[in-house]
Symmetry: C2
Amino acid sequence: MSAFALKGNICFSQGKNKISVHEQSYLICENGVCAGIFKELPEGFLHIPVRDAGDSLIIPGLSDIHLHAPQYSFRGMGMDLELLDWLNTITFPEEAKYADLDYARKAYSIFTEDLKKSPTTRACIFGTLHVESTELLMDFLEETGLKTFVGKVNMDRNGPDILQEKNAEESAKATLHWLSDTSEKYLNTKPILTPRFTPSCTDELMKKLAEIQQEYHLPVQSHLSENMGEISWVQELCPKTAFYGEAYDQFGLFGGKGCPTIMAHCVHSPEAEIELMKKRGVYVAHCPQSNTNLSSGIAPVREYLDRGLHVGLGTDIAGGHSLSMLRAITDAIQVSKLRWRLTDDSLKALTFEEAFYLATMGGGEFFGKVGSFLDGYEFDAVILDDSFYRHPQPLSVRERLERLVYLSDDRCIKGKYVSGRKLF
Amino acid sequence: MSAFALKGNICFSQGKNKISVHEQSYLICENGVCAGIFKELPEGFLHIPVRDAGDSLIIPGLSDIHLHAPQYSFRGMGMDLELLDWLNTITFPEEAKYADLDYARKAYSIFTEDLKKSPTTRACIFGTLHVESTELLMDFLEETGLKTFVGKVNMDRNGPDILQEKNAEESAKATLHWLSDTSEKYLNTKPILTPRFTPSCTDELMKKLAEIQQEYHLPVQSHLSENMGEISWVQELCPKTAFYGEAYDQFGLFGGKGCPTIMAHCVHSPEAEIELMKKRGVYVAHCPQSNTNLSSGIAPVREYLDRGLHVGLGTDIAGGHSLSMLRAITDAIQVSKLRWRLTDDSLKALTFEEAFYLATMGGGEFFGKVGSFLDGYEFDAVILDDSFYRHPQPLSVRERLERLVYLSDDRCIKGKYVSGRKLF
């Protein structure tokens, strides 16, 4: 048995609507999981090592359940375009560069070092279609100590020549190659099946991926109902489906038993799609910054929450420009306010408590018991030091937490643990 | 004559739709104004001092034309409320504390130091109703070297007991006292008449302020058409006016000859109000972050721009939580995209060029020839060092500028000049 404690101002969600605050308390980690919060160390733990974080805040690690590693290199650039133009003009040409392993090494070492320093402890990450580069990305991620799912991307149609697999067979073959290399290789880095999105994948490829999914029991990640142009395109490509989600579901790649699935965006999902997501237990990756930057719209997250769907947050680098999941929390609140104001006042804006829940427990659930400091949850923790923000008045810990999240300043991040392992 | 040059990658607006980029060039300052950009120092300037900013970017200083100094202390807190509740619950109780000069000293020293370090070179700032505290704020601002307009706030109705002037006469008297203390006292810090907003000011007070305005030739700043509840309230309070703007205009406090005026927000301005703003040359202070946080809505900035109104950006601390005018640029772009998507696709989203223009030349015009590096403009410059952002690919200066603005990271700000005076 190994145990230690962090001491500081402990803040975490206890469900959707409540943030618990324990000032100057000990958060105990035992064998990688949370084992209680105490004002004084209890008997049996009196002699465990303690890291005293002083007046810092300690929050659960954040789960970024949708982002693209190769796009980190151009974050915050070319932001005046809509989705399909942005993919063709900016994204695909950059992703094509990852055929070059030297380029990938340079780019992914930057991305993984920055992700390690961020408030994120868990992530679901898109690579590119390239097997070797994606394996390199996984090597780098494994070194960080973060726990991640990483996908070699599948795409065998509608891409540019420089970024497309020859056909379904080649794409499936490459996927099997990648899985045979990586399935058992890492402790913290796991493969996730990643058909880019319906317009990029032929029916034949989808069928083959479904077979692979069943054989390897892989989770799945993809995109859904992000942009109106994209949705019309999918309708043309799949005339027999009633809605976009069916384009995945017809192949068994849309959640359900043994197929945990994340669908990014779900901005414009019709009623039947929402029902099917709920039925299949699909995770919605809400990416407010990306949906804003690419003029996609605002997802009805309040509705998803109220109806009991699984929802987490994603930075969607580089549709989103910020790698900070703290920023994703405030973006989620902000766009929900605008949606309430401009589109549908029956859906109240998200509260701070709810958005904090989404970034911690909401997305964390995809990884197991992750995203809270309740007993038995994996010990993912981030230490946030806000002492360089000066203020004239005394502040409560809850006020400081909200300010920290709104200011989303990397400089605050002073420590990080994943399943009880200290990253820094 | 005094002259010097900054050397680096020089970026500035040349009107609404064009950002000029001069790589590795010299920007010459002569007697506080811009005197040309050159690849090599021209004859006559060969021996002037040069500050070599290396590979940094050099941009015009940004003009924040709407923010509240006393609210900086609670930025990023209590953000789950709408305007009128937020004023009563959070804002008014905090502003009341500035009756205590010691509290004001503590709070304003923090605010002014942070503003000095920010990318802002010019600002139009609300104080509180307290004369002494507002003078202290002006003292501190003068020390920073920034050029600002500062308003002692007027409010004689509908406030809480702790934050309201006894009556119009007392409010006007305090204003005259403040003006007599400060009108000629500072080089860089000037008074601006600041009726808080119509619900806070009786007709009698407005009349007296108009008299003061005419006597002292003061500019004016206030709030306009921010929130639906506020607008209805103004309609009740001023039943004879056809729209909110008339509530100011009936007293001559809405722009026009000799009365330069800034109206913050203008989110829900009806056609007649827009026309009157144009006619009177009123400056719209667009505050996208605040309008989002307080669920106010999204102003039709594209329309204001196309119709030739004066428009600049404001952080509106602390309706807005970020003091960074870089962030205000991206917020303006982002909300314009959501407005296009959700409300009115006849108004195209703002481009990066346009939003950069708003933050520099748009708001800068309120201060004179400010916000560009064109010849004759005042030499307000900010040096931005983005070297700690690593990237695998070569980037153009234009790409780096967009990334810098999107990432809005204070750490980049390495130098600042106002009218040729070096702040750091």
